[in-house]
Amino acid sequence: MDADEIIIKCNDIYEDFGQSYIKKWKTEKSGRRAIGYTPIYVPQEIFYAMDILPVGVFGGGDLIDIVVGDSYFQSYICHIARSIVDMGHSGILDQLDGMIFPFVCDVMRNMSSFWNTIFPDKYSYLFDQPQNFIKGIGGEYYKGIISEIVKDLGGNKLDKNKLIESMMLYGENRNLVRKLYEERSKRPWDIPITEAYLLLRAGSVMDVKEHNEMLKEYIDKIGQLNRQPEDNVRVVLWGAFCEQPPLSLLKVIEQSGCYVVADDFALALRQLENNIDVDEVTRDPVGYLVNSYLDHGINTPCRFEGDRNKLKDLVGIIRSTNAEGVVFAAPSFCDPALEEQPCYKEELDKKDIKHISFLYSEDTSQFSNIREQLGTFTDSIKIWG
């Protein structure tokens, strides 16, 4: 497939929320199931090793009209929760045999506790990810969670070899995604943000084996379309790790003069930063998975900072990608994003790094304000560097 065809395939999966893909995948081998997960991080490798397709459920975006979803949430609650409930009601999530909800914030946390009340026939689980990063404590706790999930999903023991294979595949996937980001940082004009984004979204639905092939193919073909560099400013996009911006907003960001060279689109494909150590994985795959999270899980607002320094780490990302500024884009009512922003901004001010911020919701359709703001922002960087 050439690059365009790849993106079209990704777009089809995105617009259909993967329903046709999941249906087909399940029929290809008996005993296959699919489980949905919400942002930010779940141990996908475990599911895959049990022949369960982990499918990212990141909200309805601007693709659906919500009616029922709104009746479950009053004012001051974000949009993604509403659209996910609506998708459950309207049948979009019917291909999924259950849902895993990581503890990303109180809204999702509470929703996980009443998911069974509204959908009593479906499996649901709150993944209260460890906030202690000592192997003997948080690590043991995380292992306990994994055992619980495995038991719930009908396997009393994980097939070690399948798990090793699964972890190798996901490790490769993370490497390929990293490569994609590296390439985009080097030559952002060759990889429009919407294309990179759609590749990630498709990856949160597809079989990881297939996605790896797709990424390799796409990366191979970068530059073949001879896109020309624009006079755009290099920015880091920060805050869109849960409720997702609509594609049209991403386009607006680029059209307003920004090359997004780094972002925190979590989408569960980038959560672990280490390269797979083949020996360690083979010896103790579960332990390795757990330790990778504890030691190399990326910073997110939903992870206790502990001994790290998130502000320094963000500055590190800015420096390493030669970004000229930060665009804080947060969903309205998003506690994790909005509670972190002021500290980040303060740090950037100290380091004289320009930044701008705006709010969006997953179905935002009017962009004139944002366009205006971003235009001014990029101009000011270009003029006053």
Binding site: D62, V67, G69, S75, S361, S365, S368
Partner: protein, 433 residues
């Protein structure tokens, strides 16, 4: 025969309904709510009483015609003529009075401003006949709307920009004074008086015997001993009504009872008012079993539509019909009043058509309302839609579509009198005592 009055003092309009002891609606009155709630109530009450007099006039005409076998009269036509003449008379009086008020306000200002205003009021007075059409008052268009639209027309012709601001200011001030000054209207005196003026329809020529019959009927109607046994007030402003506590009722209960009275099989009521939206469940007796009100964010209520109408510089009553002309589906994501103006202007500047944008807005409002109903437990057959916004044809259309798609075959009751449901319910409570 005993009569009972219900008053629904809403945030945008004040509605009054009078029923008789058989629970039949005798008359309805509506006016725009103004800053002085007591005055607003009095205006609306007077309106209902005047309309009651017209109701009795119809009865009187029938009776008198029966007693005079030789006389042939088209009662409908006569009533229409009398009512429109009455309205015209009332309108012209108000215009004159407003002209006087503005004259005294502009006294200290230059003769130029005063002169321009006087000319404008004269022009408005002269074209009063054309402005008052037969059914305008039933469509909920008030004095304020009529005179403002005439005024705007003449305002555009003024070349002197400095004067324009001042003139608008004086106009607004005098309008406020007129609106908040209650004038008692004598039904008999005014209606008899209209028989002497140019009738709206010159094609009809009535001979003396008919005129006498009409005069007698008017006097009969005016003299009829029409006593309001009990009044009950409800609505947003009900706390401000000078009524004792037992004559004030919850608007939720009034809407439930009123919907039940109008459509006895109602089980679900949706009321979109000026400031809030309510979903009410009632049982077969009209007793409220539960209700839900909209979130803090009052998006999608009547006020919002008013704001949109202002932005587009069109009348509130024109929003629905314009939205029905839509050819394209423009998706509006929020009905937030704060951002509506921005979103609207944004879209217009992108070349979207007004009708398409309005269609999107109406859809969004209805989605929010149906979401509230879902929160209240969904739609139980039959479904009755009440409140001022029920007059909007685009809202109605969208509501019918969404409910059909989500709840199947449900009987949806939307009446042109939907705005009176609250006051009807209050009148019912007045009867119960």
């Amino acid at each position: 025969m005993s009569y009972y009055m219900g008053i629904d003092l809403g945030s945008t309009t004040c509605k009054v309904v009078i029923i008789d002891e058989n629970k039949e609606i005798v008359s309805k009155g509506i006016t725009n709510t103004r800053s002085d709630y007591t005055v607003a109530t009095r205006f609306a009450e007077q309106e209902a009483i005047i309309m009651a007099r017209f109701y009795f006039l119809e009865n009187a005409l029938r009776e008198n015609i029966l007693k005079s076998p030789g006389i042939q009269v088209d009662i409908e036509k006569v009533l229409l003529l009398l009512e429109s003449s009455f309205r015209l008379c009332d309108y012209k009086e108000k215009v004159l009075e407003m002209g006087e008020v503005s004259k005294s306000l502009t006294k200290k200002d230059g003769s130029k401003v005063s002169g321009i205003l006087e000319d404008i009021f004269n022009s408005i007075y002269k074209e009063a006949n054309q402005v008052i059409t037969n059914l305008s008052f039933n469509k909920g268009v008030f004095f304020r709307d009529l005179i403002s639209s005439s005024f705007t027309k003449y305002l555009r012709e003024i070349k002197d920009f400095e004067a324009v601001d001042k003139i608008v200011g004086y106009f607004d001030k005098s309008l406020l004074q007129i609106e908040n000054k209650f004038n008692e209207i004598d039904f008999v005196h005014t209606t008899l008086g209209t028989l002497n003026m140019d009738n709206l329809d010159n094609s009809v020529n009535y001979d003396d015997s008919i005129i006498n019959l009409i005069k007698n009927s008017i006097e009969d109607a005016g003299n009829y001993n029409f006593n309001i046994e009990n009044k009950v007030g409800t609505g947003y402003g009900r706390q401000r009504l000078p009524f004792p506590k037992d004559q004030i009722q919850s608007e939720i209960l009034c809407h439930g009872m009123g919907a039940h009275q109008m459509f006895p099989k109602t089980r679900t009521v949706l009321d979109i008012g000026g400031q809030d939206t309510k979903a009410i469940r009632i049982d077969k007796n009209g007793v409220v079993t539960s209700f839900t009100m909209n979130d803090r964010c009052a998006a999608g209520c009547g006020r919002f539509l008013g704001y949109i109408a202002d932005e587009l510089n069109i009348g509130l009553q024109d929003l629905g019909p314009l939205a029905l002309e839509a050819k394209k589906n423009v998706k509006i994501s929020s009905t937030c009043t704060v951002f509506a103006g921005v979103e609207l202007r944004d879209r217009l500047s992108l070349g979207e058509r007004r009708s398409d944008i309005l269609a999107g807005l109406h859809k969004a409002i209805v989605r929010r309302a149906v979401s509230l109903i879902a929160r209240a437990g969904g739609v139980e057959n039959e479904f009755t839609f009440t409140g001022g916004v029920a007059r909007n044809v685009s809202v109605d259309k969208n509501l019918r579509e969404i409910i059909a798609s989500r709840y199947g075959d449900v009987v949806i009751n939307i009446s042109p009198d939907s705005i009176y449901v609250g006051s009807l319910g209050a009148a019912m409570y007045a009867k119960v005592g």
